[in-house]
């Protein structure tokens, strides 16, 4: 199972007798459903994440009412957006106005197809993955111009104009920085690029040569500009253009713009992680080395990295259990009813987690006869879950930087923005590309 599309073709083999087209249609629908759902949840979680980061920088709390820690706030917001009245201005170009958000959405969701989540988890590992990403990224600009034009509002028009100039310009340094990576990896496939970074942190492309180190920053800056985030958010600059291209949008159409913006953050950070930060490669542990099911469990467990990991897990579990125990003692002393107890209110999830971790650690430590199953589970853990968590964690770290900038930095002016692109990033991109060529010619 190297990618989801192939796997699904296998799963739906019973449809083969209907012909190729229906099978492909079912496969595509399934993939689309998965992408859309992932995208929806991701952008929802990003709104939560952003508001928490905003709260943190703004010396306030952020959402904390709906659901645990305010986690479900985004669902409430989504419901609200769906229920709101969808207003289309009388003078707007109706068909374009209606279509623009979906084009924007299309650009974002298409990118999810080639973003890997682990060595075995990707929807379609295209051999031109990076090129495909650059292409789908350009859908955004069409959507924005259409929205800006169709709204028949001068602020929206200015916003659309700004975004067109900005996105088209910043695609150049963006592509140049990615070309450096393609040069190093020798492939455009996303999984191929990640596999080329195997073997420890110093093999990650960001650290493997000075030019790629520079290229990472060129990529990151121009990618932030491409998705219109602060300090490059001039197309929707609130204090100048009120809301820019989406000024006339309301209800779920606005929600789609919003979701696409947040989905884009995941896309650019995921690409940055893939191309420069080793993707799902776990630092200090080569996942690719791990063999298939049935490989000697004992020898696997004996690796120092695994032992370290287990030690960490055991420590965390002890800590959680200790906290839960203290809450429990607190409750017993004060004779609290079960549901009013501090234990249930604050620490039930900690206790469950603690039990799972502690139990797992115990089982492993005792080498119970379960180990045949366990080895499968642990193999799956190291092949699927851990790389996914690592990839996701790296992407979230970068996303945090994006959001953090959003809430700290002021915004550039239009001409300065263009200056940054054409005077600094683009020449530096070329220098990186040529320099990387020489570097590889000299050292390999």
């Amino acid at each position: 199972m190297e990618n989801l599309v192939n796997d699904l073709f296998g799963q739906f083999a019973f449809l083969q007798k209907l012909g190729y087209v229906p099978t492909a249609a079912v496969v595509m629908l399934t993939c689309g459903l998965i992408v859309l759902n992932f995208f929806g949840v991701m952008s929802g979680l990003y709104t939560f994440f952003e508001r928490k980061v905003a709260g943190w920088t703004n010396a306030r709390r952020g959402p904390n009412r709906v659901g645990p820690y305010g986690l479900v706030q985004f669902m409430a917001d989504g419901v609200k957006l769906i229920l709101k009245e969808d207003i289309i201005p009388a003078a707007a170009d109706r068909s374009i106005f209606k279509f623009a958000p979906y084009l924007l959405l299309l650009g974002t969701t298409l990118s999810f197809v080639v973003i890997p989540f682990g060595p075995k988890w990707i929807i379609g590992d295209l051999n031109v993955g990076v090129l495909y990403l650059l292409a789908t990224g350009s859908f955004t600009v069409i959507g924005l111009i259409m929205a800006g034009w169709a709204s028949n509002n001068k602020f929206a028009l200015l916003g659309g104009m700004r975004s067109a100039a900005q996105i088209v310009s910043y695609e150049i340094p963006n592509a140049l920085a990615i070309l450096v990576v393609v040069l190093m990896a020798g492939t455009m496939s996303m999984q191929g690029i990640i596999r080329a970074q195997a073997g420890g942190i110093h093999h990650w492309f960001i650290f493997s040569s000075p030019f790629s180190f520079l290229a990472f920053f060129i990529y990151f800056i121009s990618a932030i500009a491409e998705i219109n985030r602060v300090p490059f958010d001039i197309p929707e600059a609130e204090s100048e253009l009120v809301a820019g291209y989406n000024i006339e949008y309301s209800a779920m159409r606005f929600g789609v713009f919003f979701a696409a913006e947040f989905g884009n953050i995941y896309v650019i950070t995921a690409v940055a992680v893939t191309c420069f930060l080793g993707g799902w490669q776990v630092p200090f542990l080569d996942v690719g080395e791990l063999g298939p099911v049935g490989r000697s469990f004992g020898s696997f467990m004996a690796r120092p990295q695994v032992l370290m990991l287990l030690l960490l897990v055991a420590l965390a579990a002890t800590f959680l259990a200790w906290k839960a125990l203290r809450a429990f003692v607190w409750d017993v002393r004060r004779k609290r009813a079960f549901f009013g107890s501090r234990f249930v209110r604050f620490h039930s999830e900690l206790l469950v987690l603690g039990l799972v971790f502690a139990g797992g650690a115990l089982v492993l430590a005792l080498h119970l006869p379960l180990r045949a199953y366990l080895s499968t589970i642990y193999w799956a853990f190291f092949q699927y879950l851990l790389p996914f968590l690592v990839f996701f964690g790296k992407a979230m770290l970068l996303s945090f930087v994006v959001l953090w900038w959003r809430w700290t930095l002021p915004r550039l002016r239009v001409d300065q923005l263009m200056g940054v692109c054409w005077k600094y990033l683009t020449p530096m991109g070329f220098v990186c590309l040529v320099g990387q060529g020489f570097w590889m010619w000299l050292f390999s």
Binding site: A54, T57, N58, A59, R60, K154, F155, L158, M161, R162, V230, P231, D233, I234, A237, E238, S239, E240, L241, V242, W407, T408, L409, P410, R411, L412, R413, V414, D415, Q416
Partner: protein
């Protein structure tokens, strides 16, 4: 091939995120560049001057709160001094110190709002919430003092309406101890930010001559390099006994009279206000806080023009009395009004984003423009 292009008219305001209050600008732009900028004011005109003619002197005091809601104490003070000079009312020394104290405290929070919204107009949202947090503390202090948080109505002819509550000065100096390091934090946070400087240095420069021509006042005038502060040069109340520096714009950080200098002057003024406040706390005399001798106020026929230094510059009251309990005419001359009138000249040639920075840097408050 030549493209035919044409200019467009962009209506900015009256409800627009960066036109604080309700201002409106009609811009003729060529893409992003403004060719003609025409401010349209009056959306907050409440006819304060007409109201003043209908009311006894003391009854107009609450209206001065609404003159500039961000610096209500300073407006109170300006009006009180005007009427006191016209009617020869003595003010006990403790009341004078309390007045200076609240006026400077209000100057600080007014500048905090100014700095915060300035950063917000440039695109940084966070500084605003931080300045608001500090302002909240001062609002609490004011609430303790007079029960109100925004429109205080605290100053009376001949003094102030309530004495300082017990322990107020300690709490105030506690606030000042907290606030002074914060200023350094703002500098790290905003003033020294590369993008912030890039956006503001050299933008919308007001030359010395322009500043004089348009009768700019207060921080805007000083940013253009003119050494003029009413508190020092024509001291009223007890400012003569207090030591402070008057920050003057220099070319040190960019161009004299640009948006950045105007911003920087306000940060400096907050520092100086803290200094004044500390002196007020140290020198606060005991004694009565209100001269109650003249309960029925009548002003002899005559006319007087009194100006005081409010956060937005000179606040002038031109009072004409024909005897009796009401003014014959009360003209209010405010800093924002003249600051607004210069926008028309400076606006053309700027970009839309610069216009936003210009308005924010002039620290225009709409009710003060329209009155």
């Amino acid at each position: 091939m030549l493209l035919t292009t044409e200019t467009m008219v962009l209506n900015m305001g009256p409800h627009h995120p960066s036109t604080h209050g309700v201002l409106r600008f009609i811009l003729r732009t060529d893409g992003e560049v403004i060719h003609l900028c025409r401010p349209d004011i009056g959306y907050l005109h409440r006819g304060l001057e007409k109201i003043a003619e209908q009311l006894p002197y003391a009854h107009f005091m609450p209206y001065t709160d609404r003159l500039d809601y961000l610096a209500a104490m300073n407006c109170n003070l300006g009006y009180a001094i005007t009427v006191e000079q016209a009617a020869d009312i003595e003010v006990p020394p403790r009341a004078e110190y309390i007045r200076v104290l609240v006026a400077e405290l209000n100057r600080i929070i007014s500048h905090l709002i100014s700095v915060g919204t300035f950063a917000m107009d440039i695109g940084a949202v966070t500084p605003f919430t931080h300045t608001i947090r500090e302002r909240e503390w001062v609002n609490d202090l004011f609430e303790e003092l007079c029960g109100a948080r925004l429109t205080y109505n605290y100053i009376r002819f001949g003094g102030v309406v309530f004495d300082l509550p017990e322990g107020f000065l300690d709490r105030l100096s506690h606030f000042l101890d907290y606030f002074e390091p914060r200023l350094e934090q703002y500098n790290r946070f905003i003033s020294k930010n590369k993008i912030f400087k890039e956006r503001l240095v050299g933008v919308a420069v007001i030359s010395r001559q322009q500043a004089l021509d348009y009768a700019l006042v207060g921080p805007n005038l000083r940013a253009s390099g003119i050494d003029w502060d009413l508190r020092r040069d024509e001291p009223y109340s007890v400012y003569g006994d207090l030591e402070f520096d008057v920050p003057i714009g220099t070319s040190e950080f960019g161009v004299m009279g640009d948006c950045y200098t105007r911003y920087w002057i306000r940060i400096w003024e907050m520092e100086q206000s803290v200094r004044i406040l500390r002196q007020c706390i140290a020198k606060m005399p005991e004694g009565p806080y209100l001269n109650k001798s003249k309960r029925k106020l009548k002003v002899e026929p005559g006319e007087i023009y009194v100006r005081t230094e409010a956060p937005r510059g000179e606040l002038g009251f031109y009072l004409i009395s024909q005897g009796g309990i009401r003014p014959h005419r009360l003209k209010i001359r405010t800093g924002s009004f003249s600051a607004m009138s210069i926008v028309e000249e400076l606006g053309s040639g700027l970009m839309v984003a610069d216009l936003v920075a210009l308005i924010a840097s002039l620290d225009v408050v709409a009710p003060e423009v329209d009155r």
